[in-house]
Amino acid sequence: MKEYETKALVDNLPEVLAFVDSQLEEVDCPMKIQMQIDIAVEEIFVNIAHYAYENGPGPATVRVEITHEPLCADITLIDNGLPFDPLAKSDPDVTLAANERQIGGLGIFMVKKSMDDVKYEYVNGHNMLTLKKELVKK
């Protein structure tokens, strides 16, 4: 298990994704799955950067745990900002025409759709959102 701690700033997104990618590349994660994981991590990290802290940016930690048989990644994003469950939001209607579609609400929906499992917990003052994804092409 490896962790990377940084400030919850959108500008730090590239370094967060570089850390996640480095962990996935060690186990030869297929490119498509790496992209799906990167998108999911981006959505969650950017949410933290935008909404978790009221008074300036606080810390965000990204934890990557690789398990084997089957090869799988558990990626947890942790902040100690305001308690917030991003999964509680209802899904956007993805069947509406362009003019009726709202700009936004798609990020979390993409996370739910692309990961095998997504879990939110609030533990000891920490928001913990865990993404689970099998690293094998289906």
Partner: protein
């Protein structure tokens, strides 16, 4: 991300290379805003796009809303991985993809 724009009569072709994410999507949005007045049709060449997050989808949705009032918008050379994202989010029904 790199953006190349070519205007041919009323048709603007925007060729994008790289990742359209939270940090790069605003650059694309600003670049499009500069060009909406000069074109009736908009083509996005996605041959070099290997990543798009919801920030990028929002830019495409805004562009579609603007262009549907004045002309046509389409995407060309979309990879299968990016197509999967459009399918999951229902964007394949909103966008014209060739």
């Amino acid at each position: 991300m790199d953006i190349k724009k070519v205007l041919d009569n009323d048709t603007l072709t925007v060729k994008i290379d790289g990742r359209i994410d939270t940090t790069t999507a605003p650059v694309l949005g600003d670049s499009l805003s500069e060009s909406y007045d000069s074109c009736k049709n908009l083509i996005f060449d996605f041959a070099g796009v290997d990543y798009i997050s919801s920030a990028g989808l929002r830019i495409l949705l805004s562009a579609q809303k603007i262009m549907s009032k004045k002309g046509e918008m389409k995407l060309i050379n979309v990879s299968s991985d990016i197509m999967d994202i459009f399918e999951v989010t229902g964007f394949q029904d909103i966008l014209t993809i060739e």
